[in-house]
Structures are given as structure tokens and as C-alpha cells.
């Protein structure tokens, strides 16, 4: 009996853990910021600190990891290759720029040393890593992939200039997204 109650509570917990994502999309019926042309579709879904914390808490991330992550601004990027050939993603060719200059994106390689110093369990490290957008990826025809982009928190309005390669001797595809903001930029943001 106790087992059954435990399972029911876990099912409720799973449902609640998915709830913030539902809120994210249900509350705001405007399309997410993005870019689309005949070659690709790029969408950016901002996460507030509360949404991020709720999502990671539900996945058992340790409190110190969540606290460390609250210093950052999260977007989930969704990319679809609409071409009939390969579209090359390389995040080194993405620039986030505000009026004050370039914003710092936190690359995948910067997280493992931090997690090691903080003694973060391998499972949480692994989940966090799989949720990041790959630094480089060749998108096959019609392929759609997504993942998180992490920036230093800022209240500034900024734009993204994302360059996608098409191979040698071919002009890259440039996607531009303007008027981006961290999800809780309007509120008080704690400096890291």
C-alpha cells in the first residue's frame, strides 16, 4: 500500500515538474523570438530563473548546482534544417550583441571544471550536458534538434546573429533575431 502511495506521489511530482514548461508556452501566446526563411527555422524560448530552478529541482539537481545556475540566462534553441543538404551549426559563429557590446555565451567546456569543483553527481552533470545545444552539429536534411544556450545574466535587450555553414565555397546562411531579453530581465536580477 505504501509503495502504491509512493508511486502515485511520484507521478504527481513528474506532472508538476512538467508544469513550468506548460506555463511557459500557455501564458504567452505570442510566437517565440526567432527567424525563418526557406533554409532554416530557428526559435528561442527564454526560461525564467524560477522555471529553470523548478525544472532542475524536479530532476534531482543538487541545491548548490541550481544556485550556481541562477546566475545565468537560459534560452532553449530549436533549429530545423529546411534544406535538402547539410546545414552546419557551430556556436562559435553565433554572436549575442547588446548596445554595450558582445554578450558572453558560456560554452559547454566551461561547465565540467565547475561541476567537479562543486562535487556535482555525474548523473546531474550528464543531464545538464544533454540539455545543452551541441557546440557543433551537422544538421541533415529536414533534421530538427534543440538544446539550451546559456548566457551571463543581463537586463539589456540584445540581438543574435547566427551563422550556419553550407560547406566550402558556399556563402553561409545568416539568421538574425532582434529584441531578445532574458526571461526575467524586467525583474530584479541578482548579479553573479
Amino acid at each position: 500500500m505504501r509503495q502504491i502511495i509512493l508511486r502515485v506521489l511520484l507521478m504527481l511530482a513528474l506532472g508538476l515538474s512538467l508544469f513550468p514548461i506548460g506555463i511557459l508556452y500557455a501564458e504567452d501566446e505570442r510566437p517565440p523570438p526567432g527567424f525563418e526563411n526557406a533554409q532554416l527555422r530557428l526559435q528561442l524560448f527564454p526560461w525564467s530563473t524560477e522555471q529553470m530552478a523548478a525544472f532542475f529541482e524536479a530532476r534531482g539537481f543538487p541545491a548548490n548546482m541550481i544556485e550556481a545556475l541562477s546566475a545565468y540566462c537560459f534560452f532553449t534553441a530549436s533549429i530545423k534544417n529546411k534544406r535538402n543538404d547539410v546545414l552546419q551549426l557551430d556556436l562559435a559563429n553565433w554572436e549575442f550583441v547588446s548596445q554595450d557590446g558582445k554578450l558572453q555565451r558560456i560554452p559547454r567546456s566551461q561547465w565540467p571544471p565547475l561541476w567537479k569543483k562543486m562535487n556535482i553527481p555525474l548523473a546531474s552533470q550528464s543531464t545538464f550536458r544533454w540539455m545543452l545545444l551541441p557546440e557543433t552539429l551537422d544538421f541533415y536534411a529536414d533534421e530538427k534538434e534543440g538544446g539550451n544556450i546559456v548566457l551571463r545574466k543581463t537586463t539589456a535587450v540584445f540581438s543574435l546573429r547566427a551563422q550556419f555553414g553550407l560547406g566550402e565555397n558556399t556563402e553561409p546562411v545568416i539568421a538574425t533575431v532582434n529584441n531578445l531579453q532574458c526571461a526575467d530581465a524586467a525583474g530584479a536580477i541578482q548579479s553573479p
Binding site: L6, R7, L10, M11, A13, L14, F55, R59, G60, P121, L122, A123, S124, Q125, S126, T127, R129, W130, M131, P134, L137, Y140, D142, E143, K144, E145, G146, G147
Partner: protein, 183 residues
């Protein structure tokens, strides 16, 4: 009219010969949409316990094609794909195709709850610290590989796929027939 009949006969002959050729030539399998025939490489190690504590080793599956699938409960496409995987597994119960469904870095309660809701008949392998998944270097989650009877990775699926639909079932049936021929 006679000319039309002749043309029709020629097309029919070509189609029939095409079917015969395809059936006789396992290496000429046409992969369905989103399944890439990749440059072959030996499968990385995969030794894990399932959620019930039973051990599984990919190395012991030599002689059969193996469907290796990585998933996590937080991944939206995984959630959409899992019921199709359960339907497919059901259809392959009596065929020589092994399924290695691997959860990446989640605990037993999360996996039990998730599968209980979406695919109660799936018994997932548990990559508790995510290190086996790391070794396979998937493009993202979900990710599926098809490993041949010699332990060589031959195909990779892009994202989630409708595995219980006709072209996918046919393709996997033909692969499992290859396993049967080799045994």
C-alpha cells in the same frame, strides 16, 4: 492500346524484378526516412542492469541485430516516441531482434513513473550516471542506433521516429531476417 499494354507489362516486370532483387540482397536494404546508413564502426561497450536489476551485455547479443535507444524523461521527443517503441517491441517479440532501451542518467522512480504512464511494457536499461551514453556520443536525445550481428553500428536514426509505422516495421523485419539467416 496494345502499346499501352506492352508498356504496362514492362513496368510490372521491372517492379517484380526489383522486389526479387531487394529480397535477395539484404545489404541493399532501403532505410526509411530519418534512418541514416553511416560509416560502420564497432559498437561502444554497453553493459548495464535493467530497472529490475537484470544484467544486459551488448557483447552477448552477437548474431542478432540490436536496436539501441537512448532516452530521458525530460526530453519532449522521447515522450512522443516511446509509445511507438512499445508498439514496435510488441510486434518483434518472436523475431530475432534485440532491444536495448537505455535511460540516460535518471533514477529508478523517475523511469518507473514515466514508463508506467507512457509505455508500461518497456523494461529500460539504467545508465544511472550517464557514462555509457557518453561513450556512444549520440547527436542528442532521443537517439537510436542499429547494431549488426557482428557488433558493428550500421545505422543511426535522426531524432524520434514513428517506429510502429509500416516502412519502419518492414525495415526492421528485414534486418531481423538477416539475423535469422546468419544463425
Amino acid at each position: 492500346m496494345k502499346k499501352m499494354c506492352n508498356t504496362f507489362s514492362i513496368i510490372c516486370c521491372m517492379l517484380i524484378s526489383g522486389f526479387v532483387w531487394a529480397e535477395d540482397s539484404p545489404s541493399a536494404l532501403l532505410a526509411p526516412k530519418g534512418i541514416l546508413s553511416i560509416a560502420a564502426y564497432p559498437a561502444p561497450p554497453l553493459e548495464l542492469n535493467d530497472i529490475d536489476g537484470n544484467p544486459f551485455s551488448l557483447a552477448q547479443e552477437k548474431g542478432r541485430w540490436v536496436f539501441v535507444h537512448f532516452w530521458a524523461s525530460w526530453c519532449g521527443p522521447c515522450r512522443r516516441e516511446m509509445p511507438a517503441i512499445q508498439n514496435m517491441v510488441e510486434k518483434f517479440k518472436k523475431l530475432p531482434l534485440t532491444f536495448a532501451i537505455v535511460n540516460t542518467a535518471e533514477d529508478e522512480d523517475t523511469v518507473f513513473t514515466f514508463l508506467g504512464l507512457l509505455a508500461p511494457d518497456i523494461v529500460s536499461l539504467m545508465d544511472l550516471d550517464g557514462q555509457v551514453t557518453e561513450a556512444w556520443k549520440p547527436r542528442g536525445l532521443p537517439s537510436t542506433y542499429l547494431v549488426d550481428p557482428a557488433g558493428i553500428v550500421r545505422y543511426q536514426a535522426l531524432g524520434g521516429r514513428p517506429w510502429d509505422e509500416g516502412e519502419y516495421l518492414r525495415f526492421l523485419t528485414e534486418l531481423s531476417a538477416q539475423s535469422a539467416q546468419q544463425n
